[in-house]
């Protein structure tokens, strides 16, 4: 594997909260264009790892190299500008704003005109706004099929649609790497299938080619769409490989899936 192929490199990452070691030296490499899944029991450190990658948490030790650049010292918004975007396990939208406004917020980082231009709102600022609106409509709203709710207030929407709006906002950033923290949690079967379809689309479509890191408990989805899977347990990586390898790995089955639940891993 050549180094250009690696988009994100995590080296010996460690973080502890009080006496609890949430990540005890995790290293992994995410290649360009893949869907890389992180699985593991509750409390294994999956979300902590995502939080370290996008800068919400500052690790105690270790390196995070994104696109050949050490980003460990950068703030979350600076990493966002580099192209790292994310969704949250518990929806973190502005519930009092409309769907469109929430998505626009994700686009804000690409606005070049300043406060003054915006206040006058002539020429450059208005032109730029139209461009961004065009991007949102064509690339995001159409892709995620949220035309019918674009003017609805987010707080009034059912959970499944809110999850979709979160993804929309993350996409508005036009990211190179997207961190998806349990995008399927709480969705019904149909919504789950839709979500899987969207994730595949942003990963595979020529237009996006976005690399995904997916934290997910729905093994059916993980095994179906992932290129590679890493398994965390008590802050340590216990396995990494293709879905087939992971399903066959005795350590994984023991630690996470549990012997009796083997069937669950091969669901569908």
């Amino acid at each position: 594997m050549t180094k250009e192929n690696v988009l994100l490199q995590v080296e010996d990452l460690r973080i502890a909260f009080g006496g609890v070691s949430a990540l005890a030296g995790v290293s992994l490499e995410v290649r360009r264009g893949e869907i890389f899944s992180l699985i593991g029991p509750n409390g294994a450190g999956k979300t902590v790892l995502l939080n370290c990658i996008n800068g919400l948490y500052k690790p105690d030790a270790g390196r995070i190299i994104f696109d050949g650049k050490d980003v460990a010292s950068l703030r979350p918004h600076q990493r966002a500008r580099l192209g790292i975007s994310r969704t949250f396990q518990k929806i973190e939208l502005f519930t009092g704003m409309t769907v469109l406004d929430n998505i626009r917020l994700g686009r804000h980082i690409h606005m070049k005109t300043g406060l003054l231009d915006g206040a006058i709102h002539l020429g450059r600022a208005s032109r730029e706004e139209i461009e961004h609106r065009d991007f949102i409509e064509r690339q995001i709203i159409d892709l995620l099929e949220v035309e019918h709710i674009r003017d609805k207030v987010v707080g009034m929407l059912p959970y499944g649609l809110q999850k979709r709006v979160e993804l929309a906002r993350a996409l508005a950033l036009n990211p190179t790497l997207i961190l998806l923290d349990e995008p399927m949690a709480g969705l019904n079967l149909e919504e789950t299938e839709d979500m899987a379809r969207f994730i595949l689309e942003i990963n595979k479509a020529e237009r996006w080619r976005t690399t995904c890191i997916l934290v997910e408990h729905d093994m059916g989805v993980v095994m179906d769409i992932s290129s590679r899977v890493a398994v965390l347990n008590f802050g340590e990586k216990i396995a990494e490989g293709t879905p087939q390898e992971i399903q066959a790995d005795p350590a994984v089955i023991k630690a996470y899936l549990g012997e009796a639940e083997e069937l669950y891993a091969t669901r569908r």
Partner: protein, 638 residues
């Protein structure tokens, strides 16, 4: 305009394009949040490229092109393109299951199947081995189409490119092909969603379609400034009537909604002047208002009741052609200002001049509701076999229990056995590959509808019911189950209903409650439930249905009253063959499927145990056991 024997829809299309060119908008589509106009000359360019593309792929005169997809300009372009080169369009309902698609594609000898996107392509690929005559599958929406490489597939865009190349090589070809068409050529092969047997394919000619539009607009002219919203399946003849027949002749603008979920919103944005829909659309509108009413605070409810009461009084007087006293006129204006106008606006009917309902029976209560809020809603009667329409209410001559009077050039008479017969230039040429069926339906140019009805003193046609559905009561009188069903459906809690009782001592019904409305009601009344089937069996919910039935019973003669009912554990579904694609109930099938329920209704039983098997689309078979209550409607309510 004179319709000569050699006029075809494509020739008329070219004339209309010549008349308006780039000056007028032929259609609009809401896309990416914006209404995007398409002028007549662009409409022509698109159609021309596609038409020649079809030729390049080998489509010949009389070849069938099947289409399946939502209402989008591309669908109409493809249909018109097929007609331009002498092809025959076969529209399918978008929610058709694979087997239905296979039957129609195979039976119609379809050569090209045009599907909107991935879902339709999947259906097409599933059937291609069983439909040997199918040559090409054409798709339009690229979403999800990455990775499909079957050689039978080609995109609509590529077809257009082929057409443009052919146009450069043979610049006059398109016009020559259009010129070749004759009025008597078949243009549409429309499969009627039969309530009994396999669908039958009705062959309609250009002349049929043109005459239908002309005769309809002789009664109710449409103007070129009108707006129309195309949101019902193209596979429904009524949609063809507006988008093709009337659209080309009047030159009005056709508007396509952004997505199925945004239809209601988009209708409101456009504010169409003309609307033609099957009853379910109007039933849904009434339900929307009723539900909002249930939800509103007391004062608002009182104001609403007052205003619709006044509107209803005025509508009754108007339709009875009696003078309206001055004070009522004044009150009516106030009611309109305070309430009715706003209701119309919310339903997207703010600018409506005429609304039509057809393709099924709409209850008198529903019709009265629309007239009370000031919407000129009229009934249309007709079949696919007569290009959709033969009888229509005239403005100012509307009765709630009739469907109006025949169109110009249309004769309607009643056969000795009560069957409605009609004859006009719009009567179809026959069923495709079904000579016996054709002979049974078409005798000496008279179309035998299979409906029972009569003409009243004013010459209005009254449609009783389908002949095979007419029932005999205990006292020997005949009655129409459909009439009772439409009456019952005025209750917001009842979504679908099936009346039983032919030759029985009394009548019974099977009710499908409206999940949304009853669910909301249950929530408001603190009734816990987990599923539709549990909700439907709650004592309180059955009480709601008792009330609704009692209300209708009070206006019925004793033998026609409903005594017992069962709330079904699921909604009727076209995928389970319980309804046709146009949402008419299939009685024979229901009787077979729910025999245990019928038996329980006519026994002393208070419960019925159902053991049903459900087959999912992916082939999984699930057994389910359900207990349903049989509920008596008390005599005092009846």
């Amino acid at each position: 305009m004179e319709i000569t024997k050699d006029l075809t829809l494509p020739k008329l299309f070219l004339r209309t394009v010549e008349k308006y060119g780039s000056r007028k908008v032929a259609m609009r589509e809401k896309e990416f949040g914006i209404w995007r106009p398409i002028a007549w000359h662009e409409y022509l360019e698109r159609v021309k490229a596609l038409a020649l593309g079809f030729v390049a792929l080998g489509l010949g005169r009389g070849d069938k092109v099947a289409l399946i997809g939502q209402n989008r300009p591309e669908g109409l372009w493809a249909e018109m393109a097929a007609l331009c080169v002498g092809g025959i369009a076969v529209w399918l309902y978008q929610d058709s299951l694979v087997d239905e698609v296979q039957y129609i594609v195979d039976h119609s000898d379809t050569r090209f199947l045009i599907g909107e996107g991935q879902e339709e392509v999947d259906k097409a690929l599933a059937i291609k081995d069983r439909c040997p005559k199918l040559d090409r599958v054409i798709w339009d929406d690229p979403k999800g189409m990455r990775g499909y490489d079957d050689p039978i597939l080609i995109s609509l865009e590529d077809v257009s490119e082929l057409g443009k190349e052919l146009d450069e090589r043979e610049p006059r070809l398109f016009e020559e092909l259009v010129e070749k068409g004759q009025g008597d050529d078949v243009c549409l092969l429309f499969y009627t969603s039969g309530t009994t047997a396999q669908p039958k394919g009705a062959l309609l000619t250009h002349h049929n379609m043109l005459k239908m539009g002309q005769n309809m607009m002789a009664v109710d002219p449409c103007s070129e400034d009108d707006d129309f919203v195309s949101f019902l399946p193209f596979a429904w003849i009524g949609e063809q009537m507006m988008s093709i027949s009337c659209g080309l002749q009047a030159g009005f603008t056709i508007n396509f909604p952004e997505s199925p979920e945004t239809v209601q919103q988009n209708i409101r944005e456009i504010g169409p002047r003309v609307l033609f829909s099957p009853p379910r659309v109007y039933e849904q509108m009434v339900r929307t208002v009723q539900v909002r009413h249930l939800d509103a605070p007391l004062l608002k409810r009182k104001v609403y009741d007052l205003a619709t009461g006044i509107g209803g009084r005025i509508a009754d007087l108007k339709l009875a052609r009696k003078p309206i006293p001055w004070w009522l006129v004044t009150l009516g204006k106030l009611a309109d200002l305070a309430v009715l106008k706003k209701i119309r606006d919310h339903l997207g009917l703010a600018c409506i001049r005429r609304a039509y309902t057809g393709g099924g029976a709409l209850g008198p209560d529903h019709l009265r509701f629309f007239h009370a809020i000031g919407v000129n809603l009229k009934q249309i009667y007709g079949q696919t076999e007569i290009a959709g329409i033969s009888v229509l209410h005239r403005d100012g001559d509307i009765k709630f229990d009739t469907v109006g009077t025949p169109l110009p050039e249309t004769e309607v008479r009643i056969a000795p056995d009560g069957e409605i017969l009609s004859r006009s230039p719009c009567v179809f040429t026959g069923y495709y590959k079904m000579p016996e069926e054709t002979a049974r339906t078409l005798k000496d140019g008279w179309l035998h509808s299979g409906d029972i009805g009569f003409l009243d003193a004013d010459g209005h046609l009254v449609v009783f019911d389908r002949r095979k559905d007419v029932m005999t009561l205990a006292d020997g009188s005949r009655f129409s189950p459909q009439y009772l069903e439409t009456r019952l459906k005025f209750s917001p809690y009842i979504k679908d209903v099936w009346v039983i009782g032919d030759q029985c001592p009394f009548l019974t019904v099977v009710v499908c409650i409206d999940a949304g409305v009853v669910g909301k009601w249950a929530e408001d009344n603190h009734i816990a439930y987990t599923s539709y089937s549990e909700l439907s069996q709650k004592a309180e919910v059955r009480g709601l249905v008792v009330e609704a039935i009692g209300f209708v019973n009070r206006s019925l003669p004793a033998p026609a009253r409903i005594r017992r009912f069962v709330n079904l554990h699921k909604e009727f579904d076209a995928d389970d063959d319980e309804l046709t694609r146009t949402r008419k109930i299939r009685r024979a099938f229901l009787e077979e499927r729910y025999r245990e329920i019928v038996e329980a209704l006519y026994s002393e039983a208070t419960e019925v145990h159902l053991d049903t098997t459900v087959t999912y689309e992916d082939g999984r078979v699930v057994h389910s056991k359900t207990d349903l209550w049989v509920t008596e409607v008390p005599e005092e309510a009846a």
